[in-house]
Point group: C2
Chain length 180, copies 2
């Protein structure tokens, strides 16, 4: 336990090893934003996404004539995909909150960011094409009398709400990926 | 010019001031990606965006019956907006390339990123709603005989190409904003 009594200048530590070990390069810590995966805000966003996507799917599926329009069938498919994705990530978020950890691995965050980007683009495309058809039926053709305009419009609106809830997830994950 | 002959430990510089001056906080330099504003790649993306948006607008505008459908009118408006935005930024890019500088100001890059995000979302929404209508006319209703299906489809495709060219601009500007 012999140490020199005088040590005029302490050299600053050159590398920070926070538990990587095993010769792995030191991992950089990412900042936590509320809303990114693994936080309570992120979990809330996932729940909103699932809820709105489920509402959109159910309202559209209860109309009898939605399968006759390709865009409406696509909306149902995209909403289903969004529900699966959001519920899976909600489960991951709940686990992360219970063990009081957040996702810090670059690979996991990139997977989330890419997945969120693709899924939110799909649901936005579905919402836009449904909105185009709905406006065509309601305003341009004035044939709401023999179509379920109210259901179509509500379902489209719910799809847009899904997108509004999915967009922050994507942007925050992408941001935390870039600013690691 | 007297310097001590012996200087055992050189203290590392604590702050890096690269020309901010005037009491402003030191500016951090952003990395240059090909494709972000102020680079040749960025200029090429802007030219592609303008070209495809112009093609989409012209092809749609030459059909006689596009004003009867709201989504097609919206596509023309969005394509026009995209042309104005892309050409303005192309001029800025040309200037930046000529004076051999790139945009390093945080405020300018955020303006570009937000603008790109909004404009590319608008053109994507227009492309998707037009695609919904086009598929409805062509596949679901089988009434291509009395509609300009080919022009509608080509114009929609060009709008999607515009979006494909606009997306990298947004993602790269957003990335360079986050990783400053």
């Amino acid at each position: 336990m012999s140490r020199p009594a005088v040590h005029p200048v302490e050299a600053p530590p050159l590398s920070i090893d926070n538990g990587g070990g095993d010769g792995a390069p030191p991992r950089l810590r990412m900042k936590d934003f509320q809303g990114m995966s693994g936080t309570l805000g992120g979990l809330l966003l996932r729940i909103f996404q699932s809820f709105f996507a489920l509402a959109s799917l159910l309202i559209m599926a209860t109309t009898s004539d939605f399968p006759s329009v390709t865009a409406f069938r696509y909306l149902v498919a995209a909403a289903g995909l969004q529900i699966i994705w959001s519920l899976s990530l909600a489960v991951a978020d709940i686990y992360a909150i219970l063990v009081k950890r957040s996702f810090r691995s670059y690979r996991v965050i990139s997977l989330f960011a890419v997945g969120d980007g693709i899924i939110s683009t799909l649901i936005f495309a579905a919402a836009c094409s449904s909105a185009g058809i709905t406006v065509l039926i309601g305003n341009d053709l004035d044939s709401c009398a023999k179509n379920h305009c109210v259901q179509f419009e509500t379902s489209t609106g719910m799809a847009f709400m899904t997108w509004f809830a999915a967009l922050p997830s994507f942007l925050l994950n992408f941001w935390s990926l870039a600013s690691r």
